[in-house]
Amino acid sequence: KIQMSRRYDQSTTTFSPEGRLHQVEYAIEAINNAGTCVGLQCADGIVLCAERKVVSKLLAPSKTSEKTYTVDDHVVCLVAGLTSDANILINQSRLGSQRYLYKYQEPMPVEQVVKSICNYKQAYTQYGGLRPFGVAFLFAGWDRNFGYQLYQTDPSGNYSGWKATVIGQNNQAGKSILKTDYSENNSLDKNLKIAVKILLKTMDSTSPSPDRIELSTIVRNADGDIKHVTLKDAQVQKFIDEIQKEEEVEQKKSEASTGDI
């Protein structure tokens, strides 16, 4: 099948005989090797969690994150894919958000932020013969019309709204954990734990540590300000320890039940 699609996959602007855009599909494939990103929504806020792939003692301490970016006071996003492509798109979304604020003197609604960046991505699948952006985002934010919202975007320029979702490496494993553990009525703390749990499952590390995990929340406080708070390493470690302890207990239980008489 891969050999058959050869002739129609060199250019983004060409459909294959089966009606597919192969370049776009390959771009989507690139996301599946990227560090996992998780987003969970509840009544009080949104939990965001991402796995940092590049962790080395030789790396200079970073002023910015490679996964979490602020787009505006009320919108934050997680990146899965090529960081360099993501930087272009994040700059565009920041400009778009400020242009709206300048024009209407009120914050840009979250869906419109997402839509504008998706339209920008879509142009690279239809015009110019340039390759698509190899980036998928999880946009999380709050606005006056629809409250807390979580959106996923992909290189095709498509987007969808979610209550909870996982993108990137091993996202299927993550999604199955969401099916069992996630509920709309969860508290923010419960969602924090689920997010870390999902990351522990999707990471290919046997010794998970807080420096590989970026855990943050978006919450609108009593004054009406939207705060994006990144949890400290110690707090993340606490969640990791709790989850690992629970897993040990589960394992012992299952071992005990399959023992001989």
Partner: protein
């Protein structure tokens, strides 16, 4: 008849050769340096030539906790330039992950104004802030962005001659925040009393490393 002729006269008033668009709405702003603090204040009048329209039109805007900008001139351009500055400073904060410093902000404002060299924003701004070492920073500009960096005070508005005179008389270096407030308030109030299109109250901000003290002054309401 006589009344309609007088009305027609006022409409054409602006088109007299000695009338400037910067004097249509009226206003005054002073910024002054103290000891590890700066003060910036403006009057509150908004008028349409001689008719006062609002006595609550603030001309000083916050950029960061340690940086304020005051704008005089055409009211619509005051608002537009403030909104543009918010755009630019928001982008700056997102890209650089820190708040903008007064020196960089002053340069930003200067280039923003010069971009419109041949169709300018009709406003003359004043920048007041504290540098990273909490030293006072003052700068003023004309409508096309030519900056002047003051070590003592900078003024702008329809009564700059009055403002300069008052500041020269009352200013002394290294004032503490309370003294600075008194001097600043007296300079502005006295100056705008001799200007028909400025006044109707004043708003003073004293920026210190600990925070900003804001006071509203009630002056002659005429």
């Amino acid at each position: 008849n006589k009344t309609s002729f007088r009305y027609y006269y006022y409409i054409n008033y602006l088109y007299l050769p000695n009338m400037s668009i910067l004097e249509y709405n009226g206003g005054a702003v002073i910024a002054m340096a103290g000891k590890n603090c700066v003060g910036i204040c403006s009057d509150l009048r908004l008028g349409a030539q001689f008719q006062t329209v609002s006595r609550d039109f603030k001309k000083v805007f916050k950029v960061t906790d340690k940086l304020y900008v005051g704008l005089t001139g055409l009211a619509t351009d005051i608002l537009s330039v403030d909104q543009l500055l918010q755009f630019r400073c928001n982008m700056y904060k997102l890209r650089e992950n820190r708040e903008i410093k007064p020196e960089a902000f002053s340069a930003l404002l200067s280039t923003l104004l010069y971009e419109k060299r041949f169709g300018p924003w009709f406003c003359e701004p004043v920048v007041a802030g504290l540098t990273a070492d909490n030293k006072p920073f003052l700068s003023g500009m004309d409508l096309i962005g030519a900056p002047v960096f003051g070590s003592d005070f900078v003024v702008s508005g329809t009564c700059t001659a009055n403002l300069h005179g008052m500041c020269e008389s009352l200013y002394r270096p290294d004032m503490e925040p309370e003294e600075l407030f008194e001097v600043l308030a007296q300079c502005l109030l006295a100056a705008v009393d001799r200007d028909a299109i400025s006044g109707w109250g004043a708003l003073v901000h004293i920026i210190t490393p600990e925070g900003v003290i804001t006071k509203k002054l009630r002056s002659r309401q005429d």
